[in-house]
Symmetry: D2
Subunit: 422 residues, 4 copies
């Protein structure tokens, strides 16, 4: 048993993305369709037309699909009137009222399409049967003897206003995305946002890591120094020890901060737990480098027992390979750091080519360098507190990406808890 | 005279946007097409297939169109081999070499499609005729007796490497945009950026204002206090005087800062030209409010000659109406400020309903309030130094928008010069 | 038993802050001092001079104090030579080497003060006994027959270089803070940073709340809508239920998002747990407002059982008073929202005047409004992911403030765990 | 002729900075002082006391100095009553009313110090002669028979309220800066802000460059790729040609973008003037590198006439030396790029050691690298649109710094106009 209805699309329906969105709506909502007519405009400025039969297994599903198609600019071939009901009291709309978008809208009333005046978002639509009041007719030049429709905010609703309900008999005209070559005004789309549910997103990242590991995949972590400064060092060390990280791609600074924490209990001279700066703390950074140079490198320092804790330690102990790429802002550097940028790129390339999931944690430079070597098919998770960094990293056409604007100092602990204790 | 070729699209070509992009490419480049076969997948997970004839008026244009279609995932029905040429020296590629994307890529060599190993962005493709060298065959499991192809960075090119040229015989597989309902990894798109050519963008805004005014349109300006602090007050005043602003929608703080500048020469107590803080400067803000209250309002203060300069002054003198909407962070407020938020919204609504172009200048609160009242057909220009503000304001589906991440203190002077002197 | 030494300060030691810093160093490190001579420059450009005896209970403490004084520009009255030791190998410095600041520095060698050439941060100082090598003498015009001193980075150290150790015989000249009126170049100081240890900082906030509550103090919470969008709603509700919040000062939007979550399970139309957007989800916001208007307000909606969960619910159930201040960007608003900004300010004023600790959570507008009503003696905790917001809120001279740049969606859960489970 | 008055300071006047600020106020305002008594607390938690005679050449200047000292916590030895005057009408305060800070405040009335109740910023102080009204007495436990004082916002003033005027008889207690070791709440200070008068700041930078050049000084410019993307290339080229830049320290990317603009008219594939993306524009970046490699380097490319425009061109033509430091995110790189980070650091070190003024333009990596090599005495100008970058770069104790949060695409053109046409 199935139900169906004919809908039409008109205009720049292909290159504006309208057709794609409509087909997507139908399929996402478990409906299906057959295209009955399809005239494609084949040159610029030519419009297209499509008529299709939309079907679903229940009348309710079909109704919801039609509502969504309508919000995306499709129209029913054979429309019915919009339903209206008087407001029961001032400021109170009838249940199920239609809430507007900010797109040009028409409602069908007594067999005619009325354009909704003063369209704006999140309003009710009130129908004024003929004769219309003076105000709206004056405003928009309606014939005073004809019915009209206009928006009202909830607090402006008066008892008895005829308010439009439901979804039938309403036609919305979303703007068409202009061609990029048609001038300076563009159709803008927003970027990443920090206003996403944080712990739910962290759960998704944990799931992706679990899923990658369970099928034998390779997880590469690209951490910046902020991981250490923000107090997340032990948690990343736990993840390395727990087998969730197969390789680390970082810089000289990251390793020095990690090792400083082990040798002196500080990060850039600050005790990460008490947040105090011990006297001479500012020298710990350069002293750490000096100690590791003296030992001959990180692995030697671990073997000599000089380093017995932290992320680099866990890498050595658990045979997790790391690349430390040099940069012109480095102190030292450590003997392990590859100072030539071409050699460093080749090392990164070797390391990430077969990666299945790359975790970029609060470093722009290293994340860009790693991203440059990745095919677009590799999954990427990019975490930074600066939305611009997340945007820049994700703006490279990776097919599969999670971008998260959050605090690395809370992200890594919560991720480690989720994977190791969850 | 025209030239044509058959191309094919396969996969989720509609809801991934691939088809729309391909049609767009053809039409943007002054080609045309006819669809010869079109099988649309009508349920989720079903793939579609389209075959079309692409035409153009010159063989060069057709070649460029085919290249772009290829980069977007279309393939020639009837492919030819890719062209190769040996590198003339170490690190030197032949002119016209093919530079890779990061998408899975194949090149056609001796009648066969070879998958390009180690795909990454901005590399050359090198073909290894049979027998392949051990390294690439070991890596990817090729038969050592077959030819292979792989990426090389420019600095890794060795004299004699067979480098792929041109655009023929190359097949690129861009990722399909996953459905939103198919898991947490999304297809991310970047947001606004500050890395756009600033003076060229300002020129575009000026053109849009000129164009709006020349056809009798209405320009509404929504300025924040930063316009005053950043030293752009005189330039906005010039624009009001010059007739480029038909209404101002702002807050109490904006007006007080503008008036303080007139009464005391300071903005929040700082002399905007010398950047010094005169003693007692911090009191000027509250003293200004007190003076205007005493006069009975801004218009009265202008008439009494207390105020004789600035944006509010130009509004009064040039009959440019303004709405000052109150907020809980206001000092005072001025007698002109509408303290009730519902009344203020209604005043804004009245003011912007027939706007043709809205200039939002460095204020989030007032821009959102104004944006809430606008239909999606109104042109919007949004300028702020904070990319997140620009993103948030443009993320509301306005059909026609310019977003610009720049310094309001340099934007307004350059815009005023462009419009008034340009 | 105590040990003491005479130190001297010279220059603009008072208004540059040098004297204050030196006194602070001594007292922080449990030393004490007596001022033996003090000539204060009493007009601009006059320099001051102070000589004082610095004391401590151990020779080690005295040594550390003297080192710190030295780093802050004080000099020993009676200096000794700096200690030097040859480097044991290339790139290896002797243990305890002196690591430079970027301030002009002298070292005492054979009874003379040598200026250290090429001063830069985080280097070793190498002494070249007479005769100096050609390079440094050519560079800086030293007499080739005199000893010289210059910086070397760690990787440039050669075996046998005479490296300066310890802290004695070293004189550092930190820059004096120029007067604000002396031109456009200022002494810049950095602002808040996200690179602080996050969980340790959250622990501090929890301690401050515990401490406030344990002495009967009042905690006022100022939450923004991001608390709901970021998934932290249940955690803030837990804190209200647990008695850690004595009053809430928020806006219409915050309450609507909280109530939408209860009525429809979404926040701005998105399911905060699954991150999916149910069809019609975008209408939940306006429908929620409509439901609460119909019920007559939040308290009535709780009593009728329409609302049975969330932050506003816990406020009603636990008699935690709330102020909802209106704004021009509100939808609705709810009947509980105070739409007049003067009335709303008065309500906030009444609410926060006797507050002991104010928690500002991811809202600029409401935090500024609340901050305007607070005396400088009230403790303030300000949390936002945007450093500019935190800076702006803390830039008001509150005597007692914690500013934290972090993700509200991880901050509130971790804070609630710390207070309720810790 | 001079006028003087005795003032007193009490509390943690040295390490809180109070004394330094007071001395600074006197000297900045052209007064002078002699310290008559000075008891310094010599251990932690001990308070200090200072009594001094403050003098000025006019009674007005003395009055202003005393007012400022008072705002900073000093008190007159021999106080007089505050002046009060009744408000002439509702909401209208008498001219010259005292506007509050948010610090605890007392006013002297009838010979007694009254604490001002409900202190908050930007209010008037109203004195209630005995008997006080019930409300304030109930609130704060005053004896109903005693006079009291409290704050009122301007809009709450009622006709006849006794409003405090002027500056005499008022005592303000600013918070003392707590020692860093005394717990987690700190005295926060704001960072850089974009809300500064932009064109005035650019004028200051131009003055500093002029001044440096006029005394034969060396200006080093550290530009990032955003200089090119944002359309400022020709303006920086003008400055090089005009002799305002003595050396350039940049990266491979900067040079490639500059050269791409010359060879193909695009920057990262976009035409910077029309903002269009020509077909194949995305390949221009890698093609440019290939061309320069083929020519053998930038200088060779200029000599061959391949490059005849732009910043690198002007450097070659005007013998302005440049260092291009490599990084792991580079494409290519160009033959001129130093790929080893140690070698690159040494080249930078050589280049900037004798710099007098360093212009850091929209690049974090290169600015940090250059900053690491600078003594604290070098003047630094740092321009970036991201406040966090400016804060980080200035947070290194440079004695002489201008930080500016602005758009590099408008900054460089305006700077070039100022220097070359101004």
């Amino acid at each position: 048993m199935s139900y169906s209805r004919i809908v039409e699309l008109e205009g720049h329906i292909i290159d504006s993305g309208m057709m794609g969105r409509c087909f997507g709506v139908i399929m996402d909502m478990d409906g299906w369709f057959s295209v009955e007519e399809f005239d494609i405009g084949t040159r610029r400025h030519e419009e297209s037309y499509a008529r299709m039969r939309v079907s679903a297994e229940s009348i309710e599903t079909l109704g919801e699909i039609l509502h969504q198609l309508n919000q995306n600019g499709a129209t029913l071939e054979d429309p019915i009137d919009a339903q209206v009901e008087p407001a029961p009291a001032d400021k109170v709309v009838p249940a199920g009222f239609y809430s507007t978008t900010n797109h040009p809208t028409e409602i069908r009333y007594q067999g005619e399409w009325l354009s909704v005046d003063h369209i704006e978002m999140d309003c009710a639509v009130v129908v004024e049967p003929a004769p219309a009041d003076e105000r709206s007719s004056a405003d928009e030049g309606h014939d005073a003897n004809e019915p009209s429709a206009y928006t009202k905010t909830l607090n402006a609703i008066e008892k008895g206003d005829l308010v439009v309900l439901g979804e039938a008999g309403i036609r919305v005209h979303p703007p068409e995305r202009p061609r990029s070559s048609e001038g300076s005004f563009g159709f803008m789309q927003g970027g990443v946002s920090s206003e996403r549910p944080s712990t739910a997103q962290i759960g998704n990242v944990a799931d992706a890591i679990e899923e990658t590991k369970s099928r034998g995949g390779k997880v590469v972590c690209v951490p910046g120094p902020a991981v250490i400064h923000s107090g997340a060092r032990n948690d990343l060390a736990r993840l390395v020890r727990g087998g969730y990280v197969d390789a680390i791609s970082a810089g000289n600074g990251f390793a020095v901060h990690d090792l400083e924490r082990d040798l002196y209990g500080t990060s850039l001279g600050m005790d990460v737990e008490t947040m105090k700066h011990p006297r001479k703390g500012h020298k710990h950074h350069i002293y750490t480098i000096s100690e590791i140079i003296r030992a001959g490198g990180i692995e030697a320092a671990v073997e000599e027992g000089i380093v017995d804790d932290g992320i680099m330690y866990e890498c050595v102990e658990n045979d997790v390979p790391y690349v430390l790429a040099g940069s012109i802002r480095d102190d030292g550097p450590l003997p392990d750091t590859i100072t030539d940028s071409i050699e460093a790129q080749n090392a990164i390339r070797e390391q990430v080519r077969d990666a299945d999931l790359v975790l970029m944690l609060a470093t722009l430079l290293h994340s860009v360098a790693v991203g440059n070597c990745l095919p677009s098919t590799t999954r990427v998770v990019c975490v930074d507190i600066n939305p611009a960094t997340v945007t820049q990293l994700l703006d490279r056409g990776s097919a599969q990406a999670i971008g998260m604007v959050t605090d690395i100092g809370t992200f890594v602990p919560l991720l480690a808890d989720d994977l190791l204790e969850g």
